[in-house]
């Protein structure tokens, strides 16, 4: 109960993992430094930018607003879960095709938000897409290519009902 190291055992992208953390260690930093999964980025450290977005128990969450110790026993998904070994997911391919990233810093959070939307709704409107990524800030692209990439992915999902985003 005191400020000492706690073992956090959790499932990450389907794999059981465990490491130690002080109570004050943010989940984002735990993922990056303890688990060495550096796809998740820390932009603002106060929940405004969305670069740290992961999935916790199937729901999107700001990993900079959770403490690692809170994730003990949980299943989390990070951006590393999207690609399948060497091949990019359809969403990632469309991000590349549509130049939806420049510096790439916001991209993991954008992908996680877009992935969550497309997993829930395969044919979102432009307004729905913009609303879903409204919590993710991008300083480079002006957002339009990100929206186009998500729309292109949605079209592929429409064409192939078996396809996962």
């Amino acid at each position: 109960m005191s400020n000492e190291m706690i073992t956090v055992a959790l499932t990450v992208n389907g794999q059981p993992m465990s490491a130690q953390a002080e109570p004050r260690m943010l989940l984002a930093d735990f993922i990056r430094h303890r688990l060495r999964l550096t796809g998740t980025h820390v932009g603002c450290a106060h929940g405004a930018c969305g670069a740290c977005t992961v999935q916790v128990e199937g729901e999107p969450a700001r990993s900079c607003l959770m403490f690692a110790v809170q994730a003990d026993g949980c299943a989390i998904e990070t951006v590393e879960s999207l690609a399948d070994d060497d091949s990019l997911s359809p969403l990632q391919e469309e991000f590349r095709n549509h130049h939806a990233l420049q510096c790439g810093f916001c991209t993991p959070g954008m992908l996680m938000s877009a992935h969550a939307l497309l997993s829930r709704k395969r044919d979102p409107s432009e307004a729905e897409i913009r609303r879903e990524i409204a919590g993710n800030l991008c300083r480079c692209t002006g957002y339009n290519n990100i929206v186009k990439a998500i729309q292109a992915t949605a079209r592929r999902l429409q064409a192939d009902p078996e396809l996962k985003p």
């Binding site: 900079c64 607003l65 403490f67 110790v69 809170q70 409204a134 919590g135």
Partner: protein, 291 residues
């Protein structure tokens, strides 16, 4: 920035929560969704010595229809409350307010109790709670007590909850048949922190307003009931003249201050517009959940 060290407790029962509060009192903060508290800790604006994490207290996550009230445990996630058929049917203003409470990733973790207990001056649910005369149930080592919404919000980030207590349950009255409600706000960015907002709940008799509750958010340190607007709306029809009158009343009644986010004039003007828009929206019988 990273938060300073703290002791972390993860109780599984209310009894344990109360015991921890009794022992640590002012040195402790409750951790609910973390969407308000953790940013402040990361920026080192708050430095609790002890965090009491409620996320393993399953008994605090419930929505119950009890006669003419809807009772919420404090740990109900905002997104769940906003999508709940029970809430949409019986307390639509709560669902409407929460749909403005932030982007999906925030609302998936943020809680009903957390936003009320935190009492940010531009949080949506406090405004809705005031409009609906909600009842806050507070619990601590000295037992349980009930505080009406109008006595609960005391100032910036300040509520009637004492340092060794926590918000245990929130009860909203069930909307009467034919009642209409609307919530709208203006923010700098979509899904972002609000500048000002309006929560409105109308009890109707036929096509006339029988009783109005109109709350302005962001014109004061706490949500503000616009009594003059409410009186002006009494017995009126939902038409353009009523909207115009209500809007002017709101403009005259509010007295916001200028701050780094918006000028007093801006807040006053926008709140008046939102009051008018809320009435137009209700009159047009648009979908209650449209943004």
């Amino acid at each position: 920035m990273k938060p300073p060290p703290f002791d972390y407790c993860s109780p599984s029962t209310v009894e344990e929560v109360v015991d921890l509060l009794g022992r640590h009192g002012a040195d402790a903060r409750i951790l609910a969704g973390g969407q308000s508290l953790v940013p402040l800790m990361n920026l080192r604006l708050m430095r609790p010595g002890v965090l009491i994490d409620l996320n393993r207290c399953r008994e605090l996550d419930y929505i119950e229809h009890r006669g003419d009230e809807l009772a919420f445990g404090p740990m109900v996630r905002q997104i769940k409350a906003a999508q709940s058929p029970l809430v949409r049917q019986h307390c639509p203003l709560v669902a409407q307010a929460l749909s403005w409470a932030g982007p999906v990733a925030v609302r998936s973790r943020a809680t009903v109790g957390g936003t009320l207990a935190h009492a940010d001056r531009v949080a949506e649910l406090p405004a809705a709670a005031l409009a609906l005369d909600a009842t806050m149930v507070i619990q601590g080592p000295r037992g349980r007590r009930e505080v009406p919404a109008q006595a609960f919000f005391l100032g910036d980030l300040t509520t009637a909850v004492e340092p060794d207590e926590f918000l245990r349950e929130i009860r909203f009255p069930v909307a009467a048949p034919g009642a209409r409600s609307h919530f709208c706000e203006v923010s700098v960015r979509q899904e972002g922190v609000a500048v000002v907002g309006v929560a409105m709940h109308l009890d109707m008799v036929g096509d006339r307003i029988a009783k109005a509750a109109v709350v302005a958010m962001g014109v004061d340190a706490i949500p503000q009931r616009l009594m003059q607007v409410e009186q002006a709306l009494q017995a009126r029809a939902l038409d353009a003249q009523t909207a115009e009158l209500a809007s002017r009343c709101a403009f005259d009644q509010v007295d916001p201050a200028t701050d780094p986010y918006a000028s007093a004039g801006y807040r006053r003007h926008v709140v008046a517009q939102l009051v008018g828009r809320a009435l137009h929206s209700i009159a047009a019988q648009e979908s209650l959940y449209e943004q």
